[in-house]
């Protein structure tokens, strides 16, 4: 770590940004590893460090692990193997005893905050309480995207300039003492100078600022994110972490001066004992090992069953009469059960999984939209723009969001008129929920009857430097990528569906987290439709044929959207199909709607207040209501059960119950011997699936500090974040209602490919390799030729022997679903599901 003798502002800011939460404003919510800053260390080392430094709880409690053991969720044999692997074979007996000794949970003692705590100890004065109120007020008003009727008076200047300007041009202000005012107006004031006044001793400067900013990680993190990506705010602001720190330090000086006049000294002068340096080394304790052992044993007890399941022989359907239709879905874990039902209802169909942006890397601008929005994975910087053309009117309004209701006189009128309408609306909403302007519906992302500019007519046609639509070679590339990476290169059915997904909810601030992660938290309807239009384009077809993929002319692609909350499908451009294909499509929709009913029924077992035992169509009706109910904090459970990601042929997972816990990415090792497409798949899967998985993991184990807490008291701040009450810090992470049923297991990626090919592939990109090398994701490969299993450990593949004696085979799946709301074990499915 940095030698803290001299203070280096640049180093401080860089380092601090690295550690602060990296969550974007609500509308751009995308999952990421909450502890990304520790990813340069091995998983357990990073966690131990995070816990000691920042006071996070990073595992389940010892009691929870013991309960899991007693419930049979942790296999005794695997527990022994884990001890042996981590501590050595001779330690097994000793550690077995220690693991079950009662008591001794970890005390979450943290280094952060220890230095600044001396203010309170020495002055009996709550500096945070006084300063935070104003800091939060200023930040929220300055960044506000449209809550306030009277916005912050200055928006074109940087935060500091704006405050200077306001202090100068008003009779009121945030500063009350002269010294601080002078510092504020002096353009040359530096962080170092202020720290000299407040702290005094240079070696403590960095620690002081860390302490200060981690008193409100939510706001600081957001400021750092906006500094890096100003475009994440539609109404942009010039803000930087540097300015925030400077401002907060000046407010602290002002507050101390105001309260104590000349009677206070820099913190270091009265410090009796130096607190432990933030980044100093620490001893790993035995307790750290106990947690690591429990966690590993817990994870591998489940993985072992999964691997056993993947290897178990099953009777798979065989499309004797030709393939009826094919369908692409997102790799999302929410699609796995739906695919299973569709395959069961029509054994002649085939389904594939691929990231839900379908290789369409673009911005999208809807009709009437004043901005364009990214609809591909977050790290990608698109060069294209897809525009919507529609004759649909604008969206509906709701008088309850009318800002005039907050004015004095119009409020007076509105209260006495609309007020009674509110009572009526509330009554209707409570007893008969229905979609309203307040809902976020995935189907609104794109008008079903609009047209999209997919094909670029003229390379010079650009908007904001983005090319409108794709050229033919660009289209061929994208279609080829999807087809080859998923292994669909021959045997095309007459209809090939491309189904994106999105979600609908009402009264949900985290709505963006429910949509497709591969589309940057937007529904995948545009992508699915654009892909189909491309793949149906005659020039693209001939281009593909030249690259070895010949699709029969009569085969057509059809875009659609699956709403994962209400389990409904919408299809796009059906009218462009021939009448023959339309009638085939008609037939298929019957299959889909039955599958959707069954899928809703399966999901409903997690919803305590829905009776799963009812008829599927009836349950589906109740499930649909969740997306439009004001009072439903859990419209769906989203990725709450994610644990796995299987990259391989569908045969590997078909007829195996993975209980909606797996991302499924179709991949055929036989047509990709070099691992060329595998690289693309892993480059996306590791950060996307790993990010989702770890955000759930950490939000689950410490919902107070790493999650957002219960969403019930949340208050929307400036449309960019949520806080508790009106005085709280922003709450990044996932609310308790999203993670309560999550089992905190790391992601296991299973790849169907030769170990040497996989090893070579993952080493190619350092960022991807880090995930595996440091074990933030587990990796297992199944050799497609020999069926042998290898586990990636310490940078090499070792053969893996399953411990599990075999997994159950279940014949009555429906009964199984109706019987429990808990996670299901891995088992094979004997009969047809329906």
């Amino acid at each position: 770590m940095h030698d803290s003798k001299g203070f280096d502002e640049h180093h401080l800011l860089h380092n601090l940004k690295h550690y602060l939460p990296a969550q974007a404003p609500l509308k751009d919510f995308v999952h990421h590893n909450t502890l990304h800053e520790f990813q340069d260390q091995k998983f357990h080392d990073g966690l131990a460090m995070a816990s000691k430094m920042l006071g996070y709880k990073v595992y389940l409690s010892l009691n929870e692990y013991r309960n899991l053991y007693n419930a049979g969720k942790i296999n005794p044999e695997i527990l022994k193997q884990t001890i042996s692997r981590i501590k050595g074979p001779d330690q097994v007996e000793g550690y077995l005893k220690k693991l079950f000794q009662p008591g001794h949970n970890q005390q979450l003692q943290k280094r952060i905050g220890a230095l600044r705590a001396h203010w309170k100890d020495q002055y009996h004065f709550d500096l945070n309480g006084r300063v935070h109120v104003n800091v939060f007020r200023i930040l929220n008003s300055y960044l506000d995207q449209g809550v306030a009727l009277w916005p912050f008076p200055i928006h074109h200047m940087t935060l500091l300039e704006a405050i200077r300007h306001l202090e100068k041009n008003s009779f009121s202000g945030f500063f009350r003492t002269d010294r601080a005012r002078v510092l504020l107006h002096d353009q040359k004031t530096t962080i170092k100078e202020l720290l000299k006044i407040l702290v005094g001793e240079e070696s403590l400067f960095e620690q002081y600022v860390f302490d200060q900013q981690f008193e409100h990680p939510g706001w600081s993190g957001l400021v750092a994110v906006i500094e890096e990506q100003p475009q994440t705010l539609l109404d942009q602001r010039k803000i930087s972490l540097h300015d925030l720190i400077l401002l907060e330090l000046m407010l602290e000086i002002d507050t101390m001066d105001h309260r104590f006049g000349a009677n206070w000294k820099p913190l270091a002068h009265t410090l009796k004992q130096r607190p432990t340096a933030l980044f100093s080394d620490f001893e790993k304790t035995e307790l750290d090992d106990l947690y690591a052992i429990w966690q590993e044993a817990y994870e591998w007890s489940y993985y072992d069953d999964v691997i056993k399941g993947l290897l178990t022989e099953r009777e798979l359907p065989d499309a004797k009469n030709g393939i009826s239709f094919q369908a692409f879905f997102c790799i999302d874990d929410r699609e796995i059960s739906l695919r299973e039902y569709i395959e069961n209802l029509d054994p002649n169909c085939q389904t594939f999984g691929t990231p839900g942006h379908f290789a369409i890397d673009t911005y999208y601008q809807p009709q009437h939209g004043k901005f364009h929005t990214k609809i591909c994975p977050l790290p990608v910087t698109p060069k294209h723009l897809i525009c919507e053309e529609s004759d649909q009117g604008k969206h509906k309004k709701d008088v309850h969001f009318n800002k005039r209701a907050h004015n004095l006189f119009s409020g007076w009128i509105i209260a006495q008129t609309v007020g009674f309408w509110s009572a009526f609306k509330l009554f209707i909403n409570v007893f008969k929920p229905s979609i309203s302007p307040a809902s976020a519906s995935s189907f609104r992302h794109m008008d079903q009857f609009s047209s999209l500019t997919v094909v670029n007519a003229d390379p010079k046609n650009k908007i904001d430097g983005l090319q409108v639509g794709y050229s033919v070679p660009e289209m061929i590339d994208r279609v080829e990528t999807v087809l080859k990476s998923t292994g669909l290169v021959t045997n095309f059915a007459p209809l090939i569906y491309v189904i994106g997904h999105g979600a609908s909810s009402t009264n949900n601030t985290h709505f963006a987290a429910y949509d497709c992660g591969a589309c940057s938290g937007r529904p995948g309807s545009v992508n699915a439709r654009v892909f189909s239009i491309m793949a149906n384009h005659p020039d693209v077809r001939s281009g593909l044929a030249a690259r070895g993929i010949s699709i029969p002319e009569k085969s057509k692609f059809l875009g659609g959207l699956h709403d994962t909350t209400c389990d409904d499908f919408h299809f796009y451009d059906v009218e462009h199909l021939s009448t023959e294909l339309q009638s085939i499509h008609e037939k298929n929709t019957v299959v889909f709607s039955r599958a959707l009913n069954l899928n809703a029924k399966e999901r409903s077992r997690r919803f305590d207040l829905v009776n799963t035992k009812r008829d599927a169509a009836d349950v589906h009706k109740r499930v649909r209501l969740r997306s439009v109910s004001l009072f439903e904090p859990r419209p769906e459970y989203n990725h709450a059960t994610n644990t796995l990601c299987v990259i391989g042929r569908r045969e590997l997972t078909q007829k195996l119950c993975l209980d909606r816990r797996s991302f499924l990415n179709s991949y055929d090792p036989t047509i990709d011997p070099e691992g060329r497409y595998l690289l693309g798949i892993l480059n996306a899967a590791a950060p996307v699936c790993g990010g989702i998985n770890l955000e759930y993991y950490f939000s689950r184990v410490d919902n107070h500090k790493l999650g957002a807490g219960s969403k019930l008291p949340h208050n929307v701040m400036g449309l960019i974040g949520v806080a508790n009450g009106i005085e709280g810090d922003l709450r990044p992470g996932l609310p308790q209602q999203m993670i309560e049923i999550h089992d905190p297991l790391r992601l296991l990626i299973v790849v169907e490919q030769k170990p040497e090919v996989v090893l070579k592939t993952i080493r190619l990109v350092a960022a991807t390799y880090e995930w595996f090398k440091h074990e933030w994701i587990h990796l297992v490969v199944i050799d497609p030729e020999t069926g042998r299993v290898f586990r990636f450990l310490d940078e090499k593949f070792e053969p893996y022997q399953t411990v599990s004696s075999g997994i159950a085979s279940v014949s009555d799946y429906a009964a199984m679903i109706e019987s429990t709301a808990e996670n299901l074990p891995v088992f094979t499915l004997k009969n047809q599901l329906v």
Binding site: K27, S61, L108, N128, N134, N140, Q145, L149, W150, P151, P153, F171, S172, E215, P217, K370, F371, H395, D398, H400, F401, H406, N407, L408, G411, A415, Q416, V418, G419, F420, S422, A423, L426, V430, A438, N507, N508, T509, F511, D608, L609, L630, F631, N703, H704, K705, G709, S710, K711, H714, N715, V716, M717, G718, L719, A723, I726, E727, G728, R731
Partner: protein, 622 residues
């Protein structure tokens, strides 16, 4: 009809009691009882009001039962029904009914599901007692229940710092309202020489006769009523508490703080209107406060960038207008305005999470880059000043702190010399002497006899001040409050012909709660070393039942209507004469500070982030 009026109070009571008995795990039964009792209540209310509308809208007054009576003093529960009650009843029962249904799903799986519904029903009981009250004593009963249930709901997430801090802040403002009401009762007792019912206030001749004789008492009583109303309805200068109350689950904020609870101040003004109707000064003051609040709060609402604070301030500014309407005698308009405002703000709060979806969409489709508005130097400066003042909520929070609580704290901190030893050596002998003097009071010179009560009451006040600022010894702090009660009792006994039965009534409740609370603290002290009051301890995380028991003891000690001390407190005041200003001041101040010290004790020991760190703890500012 009388039966139905009683029933309308009894239904929430039985719903509340029933809900206490259901096991925690049984969500369906808990919400079922809530939903059922509030639903029945709603239906009965609607039916009752319907019949009442068509049968001449008669005003009812029921003297339910006498709790205690001695010569010239009667404490009785009195119920009253007129069109004001009717409107508050319908709005309240409809909203509460909808919110219970709403919360059934919304609160599902939340830690504290049962606690939420218990408190909700408790609140609803207090609301109904308040709106049906026919005299000040009954009103005060409901009022106290509203205060405590509000505290508990704001601090619903009791393991976090801010909810607890803000709950205490709101409670301290409510306490100011309480004192307004208590002194009103005291004054009206001296004004009418009986415990007046609201029905009697409608008797214009009698009112104007009494007011004519004691004009200044009338004025003073009206201002005290106004103080209570202003505190409860978050009017100037107390407006800051309402947005800070938005710490609980959204539906509870919606029903309490933006609609029902906050309109109770307006209710008490409506209810007592006949009393101050003919005092122009009072009417002007009410209008002035309403106007100032309406203007200041509406500016604050305009600059808020957090949704709940925006709704809170909008609601406050509308209540300001309601105050004006009441003072202008526009009762019907005020009632319509109340109903509309309550519905509108509840709904706005309930859909508040949706603003993200809605306004972001609006921004996406309708965004127009803001244009710089150039004003001349001075006008720009004025506009900026107005903006900043509104953003800082006019500094009311620190203003109230500075003028009300800081002096109390400073006074308490001057009492550093009092420790256990001092208490033992000085106060115990002193108290014994006081008791001896009591026996021989006839021998004491008259002058001294008149001074002694004041001295005793002052001693009591000092002890309770000390308790309020105590940082370390918890049990000592508790004993200080206990001693305060003894001193007050001594002072009053000295002061007047005081029936010993009155004293027993007062002290029995205090002593019982005092002993129970003391044992809870001792029990806890044996398990937990280092119990200090410097920071929150959050022990309710581990000790849920002792926490409840201690809360009840605190309420008992504070004269909450769960022990006879409640009646005793009123009795004590009735024994202070109108001209004994100092005695009154000390007793009243003790009463306020005791309440604060007790709730502080409870909050510091049992609420806030847990002191043990073997499980996740919320950060301070979350």
């Amino acid at each position: 009809m009388n039966l139905f009026i009683a029933l309308l109070v009894l239904i929430p009571l039985s719903g509340f009691l029933l809900s206490l008995l259901i096991p925690k795990k049984n969500e369906n039964a808990i919400s079922g009882v809530s939903f059922g009792s509030v639903g029945i209540h709603f239906l009965v209310s609607a039916g009752f009001v319907g019949v009442w509308l068509f049968s001449g809208m008669e005003t009812f007054n029921l003297k339910e039962f006498v709790i205690y009576s001695t010569d010239g003093y009667e404490f009785f529960i009195d119920l009253y029904f007129d069109r004001i009650t009717a409107v508050y009843l319908l709005v309240g029962s409809l909203l509460t009914f909808l919110i219970t249904v709403y919360s059934r799903y919304y609160m599902h799986r939340e830690e504290g599901y049962k606690r939420f519904f218990n408190t909700l029903l408790f609140f609803y009981l207090g609301y109904n007692i308040t709106i049906f009250s026919g005299n000040f004593e009954t009103l005060f009963l409901g009022w106290e229940i509203l205060g405590v249930s509000s505290f508990l709901l704001i601090a619903f997430y009791r393991d976090r710092y801010l909810p607890v801090k803000n709950a205490m802040k709101v409670f301290s403002v409510y306490r100011i309202g309480d004192i307004g009401l208590i002194l009103t009762m005291w004054l009206s007792h001296h004004l009418w020489h009986e415990n007046i019912t609201f029905l009697q206030l409608n008797n214009e001749v009698s009112v104007s006769h009494h007011l004519h004789e004691h004009a200044w008492i009338g004025l003073f009583a009206s201002l005290l009523i106004l103080l209570a109303a202003v505190a409860k309805s978050a009017q100037f200068p107390f407006s800051f508490w309402l947005p800070r109350a938005m710490e609980g689950p959204t539906p509870s904020s919606a029903i309490f703080y933006s609609s029902l609870s906050v309109h109770i101040g307006a209710f008490i003004l409506l209810r007592t209107f006949p009393f101050w109707e003919h005092q122009p000064v009072v009417r002007v003051i009410v209008i002035a406060i309403g106007l100032v609040t309406a203007v200041l709060a509406s500016f604050s609402a305009r600059v808020q960038s957090s949704v709940k604070a925006q709704v809170a301030y909008s609601s406050v500014s509308q209540i300001g207008i309601i105050f004006i309407e009441i003072a202008c005698g526009l009762e019907v308009l005020a009632l319509i305005h109340f109903a509309g405002n309550a519905f509108l703000r509840s709904y706005q709060l309930l859909v508040s999470p949706s603003v993200v979806t809605y306004l972001i969409r609006e921004q996406f489709y309708n965004f127009k880059p803001r244009e710089e508005i150039r004003l001349s130097g001075f006008r720009q400066k004025m506009a900026n000043t107005l903006y900043l003042m509104s953003l800082k909520e006019w500094g009311l929070d620190s203003l109230v702190f500075y003028y009300l609580w800081a002096p109390v704290k400073r006074a308490g901190n001057m009492l550093g010399f009092i420790n256990q030893k001092v208490a033992l050596i000085i106060f115990v002998p002193l108290f014994t002497t006081g008791c001896v003097l009591l026996i021989f009071q006839d021998e004491i010179p008259a002058d001294l006899r008149h001074t002694l009560p004041v001295v005793f009451a002052f001693t009591g006040l000092i002890l309770s001040l000390k308790s309020f600022v105590k940082r370390h010894d918890v049990r000592f702090s508790w004993l200080l409050i206990f001693q305060n009660h003894l001193w007050i009792a001594l002072a009053i006994t000295f002061n007047a012909e005081f029936d010993y039965l009155d004293m027993v009534l007062y002290l029995s409740g205090v002593i019982f709660s005092g002993i129970v609370g003391f044992f809870v603290l001792r029990w806890l002290g044996r398990r937990e070393t280092n119990m200090d009051l410097n920071r929150f301890q959050g022990h309710s995380y581990e000790y849920k039942k002792p926490a409840l028991l201690f809360l009840l003891s605190c309420l008992g000690m504070a004269g909450f209507p769960i022990t006879p001390a409640f009646v005793g407190e009123d009795l004590i005041f009735s024994h202070i004469e109108v001209n004994q200003v100092l005695l009154l001041l000390f007793v009243a101040l003790s009463f306020v500070i005791n309440g604060l010290a007790l709730i502080r004790l409870y909050a510091r020991i049992f609420m806030g982030p847990h002191i043990k760190t073997d499980h996740p703890i919320a950060g301070r500012s979350t």
